[in-house]
């Protein structure tokens, strides 16, 4: 064993290779559509974060004499709503609640679903069966139905709506996490790690997580688009945010009566949901192809 134990520390400059995430970033930046989507997402997030500074007017202050002004009215570039409030300001501030309702459930579901799915995939056996059969039951409900059923039963409210959506998104994330983990677990390097005598927890930390979290995360980002639509849909049904809080789905609902008066003003909140949803979708697609390349 002389070579090993007597080896003197070598002082050499190690040639650094491009790490995985840097190569993902490089590929992502080459994808014009994905970059554009990322910029839109970033803009919406920034608008939501600094909404109260950006919004030109008070989103809650209405005047009955200026109800339902058309797009392009002086002082109200996007018109006013049914209570005479500035649409532009309400749409900007509305991004806060819509994003919060759409993104939070996916993030929480990503956390819970990853843990459950990775555990099920790595442990296997009866634990896997128990988790996956339970997930199957939730798959028997179309997602819209499950979201509406849960928030309907829990009662209207922001918290209940987000709770329902979290429950809706855990099963699909568990499925993906389990599938990816089962695949990785069968790879030789995991077998080699087991042959090293490392504990299960160490193997998961060093050899499994790094290879499964990426794909699970990409899948989760693809759910944000669906989540935005569902969250606003719950508000649209009156199950989410309560008035007078601006939120795109709720605004769409209260403006529904105005479609014969100011149709295009009434359609604006939906356009915001649409743009956000499509931006998240394309961002996620770009991320997927940037990460999919055999590294």
């Amino acid at each position: 064993m002389s070579v090993l134990t007597s080896a003197r520390p070598q002082v050499v400059a190690i040639e650094a290779s491009e790490g995985y995430w840097r190569s993902v970033l490089r590929r992502f930046l080459k994808d014009k559509v994905a970059v554009a989507a990322a910029i839109v997402v970033l803009a919406i997030v920034l608008a939501a974060l600094f909404a109260h500074w950006i919004a030109p007017m008070d989103p809650y202050a209405g005047r009955t004499f200026r109800r339902l002004r058309p797009i392009g009215t002086e002082g109200f570039p996007l018109g006013t709503d049914e209570l005479g409030r500035d649409m532009l300001s309400r749409l900007i501030v509305g991004a806060r609640m819509s994003l919060l309702m759409g993104v939070t459930p996916v993030l929480i579901a990503f956390g819970i679903g990853s843990v459950l799915g990775i555990a099920a995939g790595f442990i296997g056996g009866w634990f896997n069966t128990a988790v996956m059969r339970t997930v199957d039951v939730f798959y028997a409900f179309p997602s819209v139905l499950l979201a509406v059923a849960l928030s309907g039963a829990l009662g209207a409210g922001l918290g209940n709506a987000m709770l329902s959506l979290t429950i809706v998104f855990i099963p699909p994330i568990v499925r993906v996490a389990e599938a990816v983990t089962t695949q990785v677990r069968a790879r030789d390097y995991v077998e080699a790690a087991r042959a090293s005598g490392a504990s299960a927890l160490t193997i998961v930390r060093v050899h499994v997580l790094g290879n499964v979290l990426g794909p699970i995360f990409v899948y989760a980002t693809s759910l944000i688009s669906v989540s935005m639509i569902l969250a606003s849909g719950l508000s649209f049904l009156g199950l989410g945010v309560r008035p007078p809080e601006p939120e795109w789905g709720l605004m769409l609902n209260t403006l529904r009566t105005a479609i014969y008066v100011q149709p295009w003003v009434a359609a604006l909140p939906g356009l915001c949901i649409f743009v956000t949803s499509i931006a998240f979708n394309m961002f996620s697609d770009g991320l997927r192809s940037a990460m999919d390349v055999k590294a």
Partner: protein
């Protein structure tokens, strides 16, 4: 074959049980008193207790569940708290209306989705392909309740061609196959069809592209088979998957119609759910969800079996 069917049925049983459990639990995760909407706020404790006993809410959970499941098996989903009518009959009527809408939407969505998908897969990376792919992304990213509003704005409010709401003239709630009813069906069905359209287009494109890149297609071409002949082979190979996607989409639409039905005041299950939620009519909520979910489970089973029968490559072990 019989073994295969038996196995699938056996596999569906625990799911049905799980679905019933979830539906049963819906009433019990609800905050507050399940009788809140029928009892006057000043009801005495004695009246309250009598009502609890009458609805069976005073028994232990497992007994309640067994009783509820037993009755549901016999087609008794309880009484609607708001209307005092049997839930089962209300749901059946509503499911019929939703089914009309969902089938129409599936047919439209499938026809166009298939068309876009096949064209895109055939002319890969051409502008047609890019357009079809964009359409597919739009289809899955658009909030359909908003799309419904936009269509109403264009075709009812601006052009005045089609009615905006309802199922037929003067609040008709029964389907008659006449022009007026078809006109009422047009907008909601078109709106709903966008959901499967995008998914079908995406799936078909991938399927066609994959089949075309396979060796046997090259062999067929080399054999001198005409493009039409090649196309027939492609269709034959893509059909099982396409049918599976269609069946599942129909199920999703049945369960996901609530938002569109709300926009168009369509008297289906979504409308019923909406009422149930806002009148806190929990038996009605529970019954509707149970029927829709079971419908989805059965549909899944049928799709699975049909797909296996059509596709010789899937082993029926």
């Amino acid at each position: 074959m019989t073994l295969f069917l038996l196995r699938r049925l056996l596999y569906a049983l625990p799911i049905v049980l799980g679905v019933s459990l979830v539906c049963f639990a819906l009433v019990h995760i609800a905050p507050g008193d399940p009788l809140i909407s029928v009892l006057p706020p000043d009801a005495t404790d004695e009246v309250r207790a009598r009502m609890m006993a009458a609805y069976g809410f005073d028994r232990p959970y497992h007994e309640q569940f067994l009783l509820w499941a037993w009755r549901a098996l016999h087609g008794d989903l309880g009484m609607s708290i708001a209307t005092a009518r049997p839930v089962a009959s209300e749901v059946i009527r509503a499911v019929g209306n939703t089914l009309i809408l969902a089938v129409a939407a599936t047919v439209i969505g499938f026809a166009f989705g298939l068309l876009f998908g096949v064209v895109a897969g055939y002319f890969r990376d051409s502008w047609i392909d890019k357009a079809a792919s964009t359409l597919a992304v739009v289809g899955v990213s658009v909030p359909h309740y908003w799309l419904g509003m936009v269509l109403v704005i264009i075709f009812s409010s601006e052009l005045g061609w089609l009615p905006a709401t309802g199922m037929g003239p003067s609040g008709s709630s029964g389907w008659v196959p006449d022009l007026e009813h078809l006109k009422h069906l047009a907008l909601p069905a078109l709106t709903m069809s966008v959901i499967p359209m995008g998914i079908v287009a995406r799936t078909t494109r991938a399927l066609v592209a994959e089949i075309l890149s396979q060796d046997f297609v090259g062999a067929l071409r080399a054999k001198g088979l005409s493009e039409g002949g090649v196309f027939r082979h492609v269709v034959k190979n893509a059909a099982p998957t396409a049918i599976a996607v269609m069946g599942l989409q129909l199920g999703y639409l049945l369960g996901g119609s609530i938002l569109i039905e709300t926009v168009f005041s369509w008297p289906g299950t979504g409308f019923l759910l909406n009422n149930a939620i806002f009148q806190r009519d929990l038996p009605l909520l529970q019954g509707t969800i149970l029927v829709l979910a079971l419908f989805f489970v059965v549909l899944n089973l049928v799709v699975d079996v049909v797909q296996t029968l059509l596709d010789p490559r899937i082993q029926r072990a």
